[in-house]
């Protein structure tokens, strides 16, 4: 097995010998649980749960909710869920602990970078109101959530996400954590040959890994990215500067973009909409439509729809809704993105959706990474393909 190391940059939290050992163990235990324990839940369902359900109801369960109601009573399912949840908590905690130890240094480094000669920019706003769907929930059980801001100049949330997600995805996003951005760029080029955007906007960039990927694939474009948390943006800015990538970060809600009408050639929402509410998703589409130039492209990578997927698979994918602090997870799977797009002003004839370029292909890591663990975002997308919705503003 080839190891993938996260690329070191100025604000990446470093692990001590014990912290690294803890992170490696948790990573390996997580993989063990997913590969060796979790598949047993299907057996438990077919041999124990389903026969009982059929006897009692005279039929099979019709949807994921019915399956969940009976499965949560099964000891083996309880055990595997407890494992998955515990591993997730321990993963964040192992990174959190290392950030705690070096926080003053990381903040100091980030400050010095921002105050120096920068190639990109950051704009934060005093009194910025964090949308409730972010402030009220610690998505994927990440302590402090996306908008945590502990002190003046804090970068904790960004550091926690950057390092934690690298461990969670087992390095699948690549050494620079830019795989989602690279994959989306490859997908965009396939969809729209000759695509040469001058200005790109990413909505919901977190630590800016995906944004770095977009810039790498479209080096001539001016790349902007927004998020709502000050700490993730400070981190993303320092990180990009340290890697020598010129990016422009803004504290802004995707529901109220402070950009002029018709000012961007391409807009991306990469695995970020499922962390917002349904109303927000509609508003983000409307705003994307407004700030896109006529002929501009909007590319969304998201959780694939439940439609046409059997109830058991839906139930498996829905694990995160109930166990991993992802309240919008299930609802996004049920969303008809073509409806959201047309309501926002996009023409149905300029809309498409389906599976496309995944992160493994983007990083050419398919052979290097153990892709048998394909659990990223509850589906097979981690090692294989990602699901996209794409549309063009008529004009």
């Amino acid at each position: 097995m080839t190891r993938v190391f996260q690329e070191v940059h100025a604000v990446l939290p470093q692990a001590t010998l014990d912290e690294a050992a803890r992170q490696e163990f948790i990573n390996q235990l997580g993989k063990h649980v997913l590969n060796e324990f979790t598949p047993g839940t299907r057996v438990a369902y077919e041999r124990d749960v389903l026969p009982t359900f059929k006897r009692e109801h005279g039929r099979e369960p019709t949807d994921r909710h019915e399956i969940r109601k009976v499965m949560i009573e099964h000891p083996f399912y309880r055990m595997t869920s407890s494992f998955q949840r515990t591993v997730q908590e321990m993963m964040w905690d192992s990174v959190d602990e290392s950030i705690q130890r070096q926080l003053p240094d990381l903040i100091d480094t980030s400050r010095k970078i921002a105050a120096g000669n920068t190639i990109g920019s950051i704009s934060l706003k005093d009194g910025f109101e964090i949308p409730r769907y972010v402030s009220e929930n610690d998505h994927h059980a990440m302590p402090g959530g996306y908008s945590g801001d502990l002190c003046d100049g804090d970068i904790t949330a960004g550091a926690l996400y950057d390092r934690g997600a690298f461990i969670y995805t087992q390095g699948l996003f690549g050494p620079r954590m830019d795989g989602i951005g690279k994959a989306a760029s490859i997908m965009a080029r396939r969809l729209w040959p000759g695509l040469a955007p001058k200005k790109i906007l990413e909505i919901g960039c977190t630590a800016g890994g995906s944004t770095v990927g977009l810039k790498a694939m479209f080096p001539d474009a001016e790349v902007h990215a927004i998020d709502v948390g000050a700490a993730v943006l400070r981190y993303a800015h320092a990180r990009a500067e340290s890697l020598g990538v010129p990016l422009h970060f803004h504290q802004m809600s995707g529901e109220a973009l402070e950009f002029d009408d018709a000012s961007f050639d391409m807009i991306c929402c990469l695995a970020s909409l499922h962390e917002t509410s349904l109303t927000a998703t509609h508003n983000i589409f409307k705003e994307a439509f407004r700030v896109l130039k006529p002929g501009g492209r909007f590319l969304v990578s998201e959780l694939p729809p439940y439609e046409g997927v059997d109830a058991w698979t839906q139930f498996v994918r829905d694990w995160d809704t109930y166990n991993n602090a992802e309240p919008y997870w299930g609802r996004v799977h049920e969303l008809d993105f073509s409806d959201v797009a047309t309501q926002a002003g996009f023409d149905r004839t300029h809309y498409g959706q389906g599976f496309g370029t995944g992160v493994a292909e983007a990083n050419a890591l398919t052979s290097a990474v153990e892709v048998q663990n394909k659990k990223f975002m509850g589906s097979t997308r981690g090692g294989g393909q990602a699901w996209y919705a794409w549309m063009t503003k008529a004009g």
Binding site: F37, G40, A44, P75, T80
Partner: protein
Amino acid sequence: MAKIENIKTPRRAKAMRPQYFTDPNMDQMHAMIVAMATEISVLYDRFDSLERVLEKKGSLVRADLEAWQADDAAHDERRSKRDALIRRIFRVVHDARGALDAS
């Protein structure tokens, strides 16, 4: 008769594990914690032996230990040892999975 090199020792008693707690997961949990304590004790003993041998034979610089990084071979070796550790600590869950498969 199977060849002696192909023989696998049974490792588990035939009869079902008795249930001691009201929730069967609690029985599993207890078994895991006991196994975990054992593994930690094994680790402590090994550290202790290591330090004593190093002390007797030469010197150990703690900074060297902190800075040490596993090469690929050491990394792979550790992974297999960790896998064995996981299997020992959480063997009851493997057994539960096995029982499901056999049902």
